[in-house]
């Protein structure tokens, strides 16, 4: 019942602070654009013509097979949702721990007969359910709309939702650590975005390291690459997978998940040791 109370509390907080509403509104807008703005004419399993926001777009040659068009389109959407989904999820949950640690509020939670680990993990679980529901709405909605419009059901697209969730979980662990240590909502939101940006050049870590003059520089680049979440790399693999290429590599996924788990573990230790 205590865990359930914490999950419900997380949802209520998200609802009251309009973060849930904002998440649903942006997702709904995205879905409405897909429903009403994109029209495709399919003839004999091939794309014959199409309009976007009422404007016709060129279809080359006799028209590509609709399965290829859907896979390409979904790949583009997967890339967009990967960025948008993580961005929105971080924004929606960044204030969770700082709000919990407000002076006068934390006393009310921590003095109840509930362990601090349970308290923090209960809130974490609340955030996971919140973001999972929203990602299911966003990614599931895109999947259903495109599939219904084209008659092509590409289940690979659904893997996108799972990978967005995995990357978000990693960031959530990091946000919890930043939140516990600093009690700052701006830092809890900005630092994950900074990690996101940092992951883009680190895709080329081998080339950057090769260009380094010192062993220290090489070590720093390689350490950053292996320690931090491989967000950009996973995004690249994800879009390729939806397009029909190879399954995303396990190592970037595993190290990204490990980063989140270590951060969450450190957040729990710090929270347990903290004086309020």
């Amino acid at each position: 019942m205590k865990t359930w109370a914490l999950i419900v509390d997380t949802w209520r907080e998200a609802l009251a602070r309009y973060t849930l509403l904002g998440f649903v509104a942006v997702s709904s807008l995205f879905l409405l654009v897909l429903i009403f703005a994109l029209n495709l004419d399919i003839v004999d399993g091939a794309l014959a013509a199409g309009t976007l926001f009422g404007k016709a777009f060129e279809v080359p040659g006799n028209g590509p097979a609709i399965a290829t068009v859907v896979a390409t389109g979904q790949s583009v959407f997967a890339g967009i949702l990967y960025v948008l989904g993580v961005f929105l999820a971080v924004f929606a949950t960044g204030s969770q721990v700082p709000n919990l640690q407000h002076r006068g509020t934390v006393d009310l939670y921590v003095t109840r007969p509930i362990g601090r680990t349970h308290l923090l993990l209960g809130r974490f679980l609340g955030a996971v359910t919140l973001v999972t529901a929203n990602l299911l709405f966003l990614c599931g909605g895109v999947f259903v709309i495109i599939s219904a419009k084209t008659g092509v059901w590409n289940p690979r697209f659904l893997v996108a939702a799972a990978l967005i969730l995995l990357v978000f979980l990693s960031y959530l662990g990091f946000m919890y650590l930043v939140g516990v240590l600093t009690s700052s909502t701006p830092l809890s939101i900005m630092l994950p975005y900074a990690l996101y940006l940092l992951s883009v050049p680190l895709v080329a870590h081998d080339r950057i390291a090769a260009a380094m003059d010192t062993r220290l520089g090489v070590g720093a680049v390689q350490t950053l690459y292996w320690v931090l979440p491989k967000t950009a790399e996973i995004g690249r693999d994800l879009t390729g997978y939806v397009l029909g290429r190879a399954t995303p590599a396990v190592l970037p996924l595993a190290t990204t998940a490990a980063f989140g788990a270590v951060c969450l573990g450190a957040a729990i230790i710090a929270f347990n040791r903290k004086n309020f």
Binding site: G104, Y109, T111, H118, N275
Partner: protein
Amino acid sequence: MDTDSTAISVSGLSKEYRHGRRRLRALDGVNLAVGHGEVFGLLGANGAGKTTLVKVLLGLARPTSGEARVRGRDPRRSAARRRIGYLPEGHRFPGYLTGEASLRLFGRLAGVAEQDLDRRIPELLELVGLAGRGGDRVGRYSKGMTQRLGLAGALLDEPDILFLDEPTDGVDPVGRRQIRDVLLATRRQGTTIFINSHLLSEVERTCDRVAILHQGRVVRQGTVEDLTRPTMRYRIRLGEGQSAAPGRLAGEGLDVVAGNGSLEVEVADLPALNRLVDRLRADHLLIAEVSPLRAALEDVFIEVLEGETRAASSDHGPLTTDHDAGGGR
């Protein structure tokens, strides 16, 4: 100190905070014991360490050394905090919740069963004078209403031990009276109550025993009765419509304050008091009552703190302690 009759025990408790290179000693070898069913008041100036002590007793802060036990158990263990109510100073219920939803959330976290919450929440809202306001968002409550809600929250799981940090802070006189009545009713049920307060008159009316904390140390403790010892000051109430001329009495070397048909007088001993009564009777004044006056807790408190300050200035005490910087702890 951990006996069956001890609800709260503290021995050799010290707590230091580190602020960069500075070490702030909030508690310095505190020893205390509070019996079951007792109402105990902790007094002290701002930054004396009162809130820190309560936080250690509730597992919010870890002691640097020494030991704190609640019902014989370490309060940092979550199970030890069952049936312990706490009203923190300056508490903030989540503003997005209604009063009822707040109580339900914290009741669930305390492990109170749903059917008990269904029964307890309306009862408690009624008890603290918030009946009919439970559906309003906490963010719209006044400070006094928030304080009442905090008290209801502290009483949710029918606590054995109740910690109250400035319970009447921001509450109007009528509300204070209500809160005091609630506390007295709670005490009758056998609940141990530990109160931190600046309002000495409230503590004096409510508590059995008090301790005065100064710069992290307990400098005086005892029953309210003992601390507010009788003085050689008496109130003499005269019959209706009667008045005495204090100037005449003062002329005889007595310290007299007159007003509202009574005299307050300080005498050297009982024979002096009797001589005064004889004198008033000789003037044909009717005496309705002669009652000894006790030192108010406030007088004792100020006297103790002034004594400590004098002692500290004559003996340049521990220089590592910095209590001013910890104000509000």
